[in-house]
């Protein structure tokens, strides 16, 4: 077990060392259990901006998910409906699901929105950038926690 932890640490270190120069600095975060309790930015996000982001196609969420977005005719059905996310999960759990869902389920198809390493052949325009910024993640988390029912 200790050996495994060490190997993981080493592997993580290697990834970090291999990250190309000029890669956008991601803010450090701490995973506690299945959550990231602290905001990536140090402050809470804005739920209104978060909702706007989710329904924009460019955030990619509604390609797979549906949710309480009556104005959006085209929503995906590859993933759970986001209605009630805030009842099912705490703020910290939602944050980790957005930052790096593969941390919880290695086989998930949900992209890791705040990760740049361990990806293959990323296109030029997206290389070395997370899909969402730390601020955008916090806005979306702030919105998701309001989805209670």
């Amino acid at each position: 077990m200790a050996r495994l932890a060490l190997t993981l640490l080493l592997a993580a270190g290697l990834f970090a060392a291999c990250a190309p120069a000029g890669a956008e600095e991601l803010r450090p975060y701490t995973v506690v259990g299945d959550a990231i309790p602290q905001p990536l930015t140090g402050t809470k996000g804005d739920a209104t901006r978060g909702r706007t982001l989710i329904v924009e196609r460019s955030s990619t969420c509604i390609l797979c998910h549906s949710g309480p977005f009556p104005e959006q005719a085209f929503q995906g059905d590859l993933a759970p409906n986001l209605t009630g996310s805030g009842s099912r999960w705490t703020e910290g759990q939602l944050r980790l699901r957005l930052v790096d869902a593969s941390h919880l389920n290695a086989a998930t198809i949900m992209p890791s929105y705040y990760r740049v390493e361990g990806l293959m052949r990323v296109g030029n325009s997206w290389r070395d950038k997370p899909i969402l910024s730390a601020e955008q993640i916090e806005d979306i988390v702030a919105y998701l926690v309001t989805l209670r029912n």
Binding site: I62, Q75, G76, D77, L78, S102, M120, N124
Partner: protein, 257 residues
């Protein structure tokens, strides 16, 4: 004993990789996911915009070109006879190059070697028209690519690309087209990625387009670096898709949304 165990293990492993592959009796062309209107457009030659390209292709087939001043028809005569079933076997192994070439690649090899003409650019009207004309001669013929034993390693490479996660969204073709083809990505039906109708008329493109163009669109969709037109990787993906679709009828020129 040891060997028996190894075989058992290997079979078990092969089983897991095949688990997500689409069973033969569940394979469906992209056609079956379309609205009745779009299906009617494909079914009715007079309504199918792809047929204009086929007509252009027929004219090009008969037109002399290059320093050799020869037309395709000078070597191959009547395409309705000589080209029947040909496209169903592509991509095919090309001995002189030691690798597979797709139909567009074959047409350009004929231009270079037999017509002594310059190759057509990918997605040029000429290359789309000629490949549509040639492939239309296989309409209804079951796909039979990948027979040649020499081509097997390239099919395997194509398969490896198909199941490789890539891009900023970190998705593999198989995540959508093997595992989620009965679902919707935003408004679009995720089809099984069956390559039965190419080149085809895509309403979104307002044009005919090749299978390589479609593959590049999906690769860019997952925010990965698209392979260049004509690259070995795209031909290997085309080859894998065609072997995966073995037995399904050719629909060229198909229509898609």
């Amino acid at each position: 004993m040891r060997i028996a165990l190894c075989i058992a293990l290997l079979t078990a492993m092969a089983g897991t990789t095949l688990a997500t592959e689409i069973p033969l009796d569940q394979r469906r062309s992209g056609y079956s996911f379309m609205s009745a209107d779009t299906q009617a457009m494909q079914d009715e030659d007079t309504a199918n915009p792809g047929m204009l390209f086929v007509l252009d292709g027929e004219a090009l087939w008969k037109r002399k070109a290059g320093a050799a001043n020869k037309a395709c028809a000078d070597c191959h005569d009547d395409a309705r006879v000589s080209m029947k079933g040909v496209a169903a076997h592509y991509p095919a192994f090309e001995k002189t190059l030691g690798k597979p070439v797709d139909l567009e690649g074959r047409i350009n090899l004929c231009r270079a070697d037999h017509q002594q003409a310059s190759p057509f650019a990918y997605e040029s009207r000429e290359l789309l028209a000629l490949s549509a004309y040639v492939a239309q001669q296989s309409r209804g013929v079951p796909i039979a690519a990948g027979d040649d034993p020499e081509i097997a390693p390239f099919v395997e490479k194509g398969h490896a690309l198909f199941i490789q996660r890539q891009g900023q969204l970190n998705l593999a073709c198989a995540n959508c087209h093997d595992d989620n083809w009965d679902k919707k990505l935003a408004g679009s039906a995720i089809t099984q990625a069956q390559p039965t109708g190419y080149p085809l008329y895509r309403l979104e493109w307002q044009s005919l387009g090749s299978l390589q163009r479609r593959l590049r669109a999906c690769i860019t969709g997952i925010r990965a670096q698209a392979y260049d037109y004509g690259s070995p990787e795209l031909v290997e993906l085309e080859l894998y898709l065609m072997t995966r679709a073995r037995g399904m009828p050719v629909e060229t020129p198909a229509v898609r949304p």
